[in-house]
Each structure stands twice: as C-alpha cells, then as structure tokens.
C-alpha cells in the first residue's frame, strides 16, 4: 500500500519543501546562492577548459593523425659563433634526405616537402607581409583546404616550371581589391607568379609552426621557387648579417595508417641521425602531440573541476547550516508530527527532501548561470568555451548529492528529537 502511494507522498513532501522555501524566500535564495555559484563555476570552468583543449587539439587535428612532420631547426646555440663575419649557417632537411626517405621508408602515402620564404608584396596601396610556400601539388591533398576559385597547381606545372601560384582568399582580396584575382600576377621575392587558384583562408589564426597553413599564403611549385630564389638566405637583422642555407623547411610525411606512425618516426630519426652531423631536424608527430595535449588538458580540467568543486562544498555547508537552523526553528512542528504518529524515517525524508529541493533548485539556477557565464567570458575575453551536456548533468547530479550529504545530518537530528520535549519547545 505504501509503495503505491509513495510517489504521491514524495510529491507532497516536495510541495511542502517548496512551501517552506517560499515562506523564507530571502533566506532560501541566499542559501541557494552558494549552490548557484558553485554549480555555475563548475560548468564555466569545464567550459573554458573544454574550449581551450578543443582550440589546441583542432590545430593539431588539422594535419591529421597519420602525419609525421620534419622541421628544420637552427641548431647553432653559440651566439658568438653566429656573430662571426663569415659565418655561414647550413642546416635543415635537404632534398637528398627526402629522396632517401622515398627510397627507404615503407607505408608512405605521400611526402610533401615545403620551402618557406617570408616576403613582402608591394601593391599600390600597401606592403603586405606574405609567406611564400614552395611545395608540391600533394600539399593540397594533405591539408584539405577547399578551393574557392580556379585550380590547384599540378605536377605538370612543377615539371614544366610554370610560375603559377595559389593564394588564400584573404590575401587575394588584399592584393586585388578591384580586379579579378585569377590570372592576375603577384610579385614576390623577385619572381612573378600568375594566380591560378584561390583557397579558403583558415578560420582559426594559428601561429603554430607545425600548422600547415596561414592566412597570407602564396603556394607555388617547389621547383619554380628553388630555381628562382635558391636555398641561401641573406638577411640583415639589427646590424648583423645572417647567412644561412636551408634547403627545405618542413617535410610532411603522411603514412598509410595511423598504426605505423610512431615506428616510422623512429626509423626516420635514425636515418637523419646517420646523415646529419648536427641535430638540425626536429621530428614532430601530431598524433603524439595530440595525445600529450589531451593528457595535459585532462589534468587541467581536473584541477579546474576541483577548484569549482570547493565552491560547491562551501555551498553545501551553507545549506547544512541553514537546515540545522531550520530544524531548531521548527522543533515544535517536528514534535507535532511525531506526536501525531510520524515515524523517524518520515521526518528524515521530509527534511531531506526539503534540502534536496533547495540544493537542486540552486543547481538548476546554477546551470542557467553556468550557461550564461561562459558565453560572457567568450564575449569579453575571446576565449572559446564549450558547455557540454555532460557537465550540466554532472552539476545536477552533484547538487543532488550535495543536498543528500549535507541534508542528512540535520534531518537525522530532527528525527532524533524527543516528541514531548519538542512539543514544549518554544
């Protein structure tokens, strides 16, 4: 019989709980504030953490997890050495390295060598800093950036040394605001290229070196770039001359499957170590970076969550405090209920439900604030935030358990009161 009426009993208790909360609206609200901010900060922290991790992971993910990146790094650490007038710095991945890789490494889907020059393009209105990227046609398969107009350059362009270029949409607009972009000419680094294609700019401006694409990019056939500009770069920087020879700046090696990535990376490492006397090539594996980033992010989230959890704890203690006060205040009511015939567990459940109603309404309001807060953070700071449904559910569960944990003691205390003494209480 009791089982059948249990839902209606609980409904009445919830109703009574809400009634009591309404009776002390101000007090309940202040008590709930603790929960509201606790829950909101949990959600906001998780949202910020999630947003940051998705930002970081997106950059790495752009490359794909089946890719190995070789990068030329300047290994000269000694500045005095660099200062020498005739010092000539030779480092990095060479064309020969790429050929060796082609010959020796199995399971390779494509190898994309990249040569980078930073140039300035002068238009009538302004001077635009651009990145000229010499590469092969495979690059476009690798990064998968959609074509807006025209075409990619082809292997025929490479073989025949056609001075053609594919530029980013944004650069196109900057260079030729009033003219047709396709078929126009762009002069960069002492060479003139005919624009044959326009690709979409990346949405997120990524500054990472491993990032394959930037916004002001001009993609040209590697063969043409090599022929025109050579491998030697002489630049004057704050009064000193830097001479360096770098054949290739980056090489992307896409494997046939994710599984072989790490073993191949070690193989490449050995190969490079054999032919390079200096440590001038860095091997980066986005897959590993991804994993590391995820791991870091996970720990970061735990710390953030723990900090937010403390505020929830404080909210819970506030609730317990107010419920203890409420038990004292309502001693006579408890006495009356007991005298009429309420059993101890019924008193416990009444107070417990009241606390849970309190904490869950706090949790619910906290969820609303928790949705607004990250949105505000994004608007103000520009950080990207992501509120997951999981964090909402988690917060509600936490507020439920806070209600139970912190409500239990006051409820049990209420039920332990001696009915007669409670009735006499004023």
């Amino acid at each position: 019989m009791l089982i059948r009426f249990l839902p209606s009993l609980i409904c009445r208790d919830i109703h009574l709980g809400l009634n009591n909360l309404r009776l002390h609206a101000m007090r309940s609200f202040l008590t709930m504030l603790g929960m509201i901010f606790g829950v909101a900060s949990v959600i906001a922290m998780l949202a910020v953490g999630q947003g940051a991790s998705e930002d970081a992971l997106e950059q790495i993910r752009q490359l794909g997890s089946d890719v190995i990146v070789m990068e030329s790094v300047d290994s000269v650490s000694n500045d005095n050495q660099r200062q020498g007038q005739n010092f000539f710095n030779v480092y990095g991945v060479t064309y020969l390295d790429v050929m060796r890789l082609r010959d020796t490494i199995p399971n390779v889907r494509r190898i994309v060598p990249i040569k980078i020059r930073y140039e300035r393009v002068v238009t009538q209105a302004q001077e635009i800093a651009v990145r000229v990227v010499g590469t092969t046609t495979h690059w476009f398969d690798l990064v998968n950036r959609p074509l807006v107009a025209g075409r990619f350059f082809t292997s025929l362009d490479e073989q025949r040394h056609h001075a053609v270029a594919v530029i980013t949409e944004r650069l196109g607009r900057q260079l030729f605001p009033l003219q047709a972009v396709l078929g126009n000419f762009v002069r960069a680094g002492g060479n003139v290229y005919r624009v044959v294609g326009v690709i979409r700019s990346t949405a997120a401006a990524s500054n990472s070196v491993t990032s394959p694409a930037r916004d002001n990019d001009i993609y040209v056939p590697l063969t043409v770039m090599r022929q025109c500009t050579g491998d030697i770069l002489v630049s004057r920087l704050s009064g000193r001359t830097i001479r360096e020879k770098v054949e290739l700046h980056q090489v992307f090696i896409q494997m046939s499957s994710e599984a072989v990535v790490e073993s191949v990376a070690t193989a490449i490492d050995h190969l490079i170590a054999r032919f390079h006397r200096k440590e001038d090539v860095a091997i980066k594996i986005p897959l590993v970076l991804l994993r590391q980033a995820e791991e870091t992010q996970r720990r970061f989230n735990i710390v953030l969550g723990a900090i937010a959890g403390i505020s929830l704890l404080v909210g819970g203690i506030g609730i317990m405090n107010i419920m203890l006060a409420s038990v004292t205040e309502r001693t006579r009511e408890i006495g009356i209920r007991r005298a009429i015939g309420a059993r101890r567990h019924q008193i416990v459940s009444q107070f417990l439900i009241e606390t849970v109603v309190l904490s869950c309404s706090g949790g619910f309001l906290g969820c609303i604030v928790g949705l607004i807060l990250p949105w505000t953070i994004s608007k103000i700071t520009g950080l990207s935030t992501v509120v997951t449904s999981g964090s909402l559910v988690l917060s509600l569960l936490i507020s439920l358990s806070v209600g139970i944990v912190f409500g239990l003691y006051p409820a049990i205390r209420a039920s332990k009161l001696d009915p007669i003494a409670a009735l006499r209480h004023e």
Partner: protein, 247 residues
Amino acid sequence: MAAKNDALIVLQQVSRCYGAGDSLISALNNVDLSIESGKTVAILGRSGSGKSTLLNVIGCLDPISAGTYQLNDQDVSKLDDDALSILRLESFGFIFQSFHLIPQLNVLENIELPLYYLGVEAKLARERAKSLAAIMSLDDRWLHRPAQLSGGQQQRVAIARALVNDPAILLADEPTGNLDAATGSQILSVLHRLADEGKTVVTVTHDQSVAYTMDRRLYMLDGRIVRTDESRNEARTSEINVGDFSC
C-alpha cells in the same frame, strides 16, 4: 479494578519523573488506572497536578519511568519507537491543550496530516478533511493558516485533526477550554457520539459540568489519583446534549 482482559488501558504503579538528582520532579506517582473500551473518563485536578502528563503517558507519547502500561494486553514499554509511532497514528487521537497546529499548513492540510502519514490517497484525505472541517463549522476557513484563526477555531481544527484517523481512543486536554458554552456543548456532544460508537474518550477538564457527563471522573493531586467517581449525572448529560451536530 476491572478484570484485566476487558480493560483497554491498564496502568499499574506508573510513575513519570522529570529531571534528575536534586531537581527530580515526579509528575506521576504510582498511578493505578484501568479504562474499559468505550468508556468516557474525565480527569480533574489542580494545575500542575499531572493531568497532561497522564494523558501523554496513555497516548504513548511519554515513556514511563516505573510501573507497567498495558494497552490492549500489550506491554507498551517494550515497543520500539516506530511501533509507538504507528500506535499513536492508528489508535489515538490527540487534542492538545495548546492545539499544536503546524503554522505553515492551512486548515485542511493540518486536518489531513495523520492521513498523510497513514498513506491515504491525497484525494480521499482531502475529502475526509473537508467533511470534518464541515462538522467543526470551519467550511469558510479551509485555506487559512492557524495564525489567521481565533483560539476557538484553532481548537476546532485540532479536534478535527484528532478525529480524522478515526481513532479508537480519543485523548483530549481541555477540549472546551477556549470555547463558548454553546460551541463547547457541541464539542461535548461530538465526544459523546464517539463514545456511543464504542470509542474510548479520556478528557482533561476543569469544568465540573463537563466532567459530570462522563462515565467516570478521576481527581488528581500531585501526580496521584486521589479520588475516583463513577456515578453519572444523567440529568446534566441530557441538559448539555442539545448540540445540533450531525456526525
């Protein structure tokens, strides 16, 4: 003393002491009492003589310090807290000296409180509460809080609540204390009707005329029952029994 097997309530050498050591007060002192089912009993005595305490002991609300209390041939002092609660819930109706209504609840909610703990369906409980409120002439005060009622109205709510679970034993602590003569006699006739239905009624009163409508009168002094009087004044009963209540 009546034979044990036909008595509903049997107290033997019951004492109830409050406090400890030097400040020990014995509110009940070696009380012997037996009440048969269906009887009406009035308890009289000076203030502080232990009337309310006796009523609380009978109602399983106050544990006894010494002696034995048998209710329906069952030793009450051996029951645990839950069993006592259920006993109070199912067998007793309490009308407290100071009403003891729950201030947060309105009239109907107060009246149906015992039904709530009995697990009666909300709709049925509401109907029963309404019919009792009607009997107590509280029809127009259903949704008022106790604080919005007069003393007499509060008392009538308390009486309705005591009757709502249809108890076998009604314990009333000065049920007519706050009522005018007419309303008081109406309440009294309700009590007598319940007695006619076979319910046991124990009431504390200072009013001799009320006491004389009962089957038995117990006079208390300093925690003892000093005199018992079983004669019933039929004339007074009929005189008072003019209430126009339909129960």
